[in-house]
Symmetry: C2
Subunit: 240 residues, 2 copies
């Protein structure tokens, strides 16, 4: 006679653990029981438990830390990010009273790529500034932006990089320019390794990749940027 085998597979262990986290039996910021303990509890070899925990890690429920245990993740409260023609990131954070900073981590004067050239309607041989900006909110890195500006529109831009606060601050203070966002495209993707590292997030947290065109009030395109923002930390809002 066949014995009814206990159907404890790694999938079921994972499901059980998730349920317990959901129901609060295991609490956020606490640890789930150790692998060893779980082996005893489910009466399975360690490999099974590890497979289950790998699943949980993947789905974003826990973060294992060597020598300590697997910590249950806090579900983050996302920050509203209002998309409109007039608002910039800093601007947005400011209005919500969220502590924020920007950091210029890299810049160059270079030849535009095809994309940039057409988007910014550049003539042949025109150069661009290309900046890499990391934005922080509540001291945490929240987004990375690659922004491209026609050199001709921003004479001596690099002079203003020394005490870099915000790009739009520079636009306003030194070029008397109130930029206008004309278009934003977005897409949900998984981060590149380099971006994930920079943002201090695991590779499996989705990010929103946002591509924007920004114009001079007279309609001339003056900025093209691609931001990668933490999808779990932002709730973007568009009003019509």
């Amino acid at each position: 006679m066949k014995q009814a085998k206990t159907v404890t597979s790694h999938l079921q262990i994972a499901e059980d653990l998730i349920t317990k986290i959901r129901l609060g039996e295991y609490q956020a910021n606490e640890k789930i029981p150790s692998e060893h303990t779980l082996c005893q509890k489910y009466q399975v070899p360690r490999h099974m438990v590890r497979q289950a925990i790998a699943r949980l890690t993947n789905l974003g429920w826990v973060t294992p830390v060597q020598g300590k245990g697997s910590y249950i993740k806090q579900k983050p409260k996302p920050i509203p990010y209002i998309l409109s023609a007039e608002t910039s990131y800093s601007n947005n954070m400011q209005e919500q009273g969220i502590d924020h900073t920007s950091k210029l981590i890299d810049w160059e004067i270079t030849n535009p790529n095809q994309e940039e050239k057409s988007k910014l309607k550049l003539g042949n041989g025109e150069k661009v500034y290309r900046l890499e900006i990391v934005r922080f909110a509540r001291k945490q890195p929240m987004s990375i932006t690659t922004t491209t500006l026609p050199k001709v529109e921003f004479p001596n831009l690099e002079k203003h990089f020394i005490h870099f606060k915000s790009l739009y601050r520079i636009f306003l203070d030194h070029y008397q320019l109130q930029p206008v966002r004309s278009m934003t495209k977005f897409q949900a993707i998984l981060p590149l390794l380099s971006d994930a590292e920079m943002l201090g997030i695991p590779e499996n947290i989705p990010i929103i990749q946002m591509e924007s065109m920004v114009n001079h009030p007279n309609g001339v395109p003056i900025e093209y940027n691609i931001s990668r923002i933490r999808g779990d930390m932002h709730q973007c809002v568009v009003e019509f």
Copy 2:
């Protein structure tokens, strides 16, 4: 004397495989070599190779199929989805000449939850229709929408479900109603298991969760919906 051990860990195998896919040595829609072959190639036990492939799977490079092999994923070309006050999904697909359908998979008349009640400005005791709609484009499931409508605004709505084509078709044809989108919030998240299954995607493909308010042209809120759309298959566009 210590022998310089070959540092082939699962991480390095994964990295090597990714590089080969990137460079086109292994081509999209083809398979990577079998686990057995890779074991021989890297001179490691199967467990190591499987760990590496698990990583690739996770990062979205391959999809293993039992009995066949691990297929290299095609990077999908996303469909543009224009967000504006006037456009609906069907409408959007129509204009781009993309073959599309909608399917009403579930509906009920029920009491609204707190969220729905406040969003739709419902009085006490007012009932709502709650529909579950799956939208297809190019024969593939692309999004799942939970939509809530005040019952009082749509008398005998269920009469029109028999040959369901599109919600907005019903609005237009039977209620002479040209709906207006007033607000959209979006966020990048990983799908729930049930949604992933319905969309036929692995759990690690990010989706855009989009919450919208839709009004009568006179400003009265008539629809509140939450869509989960495939993040990898859509490029959402907002114009200002």
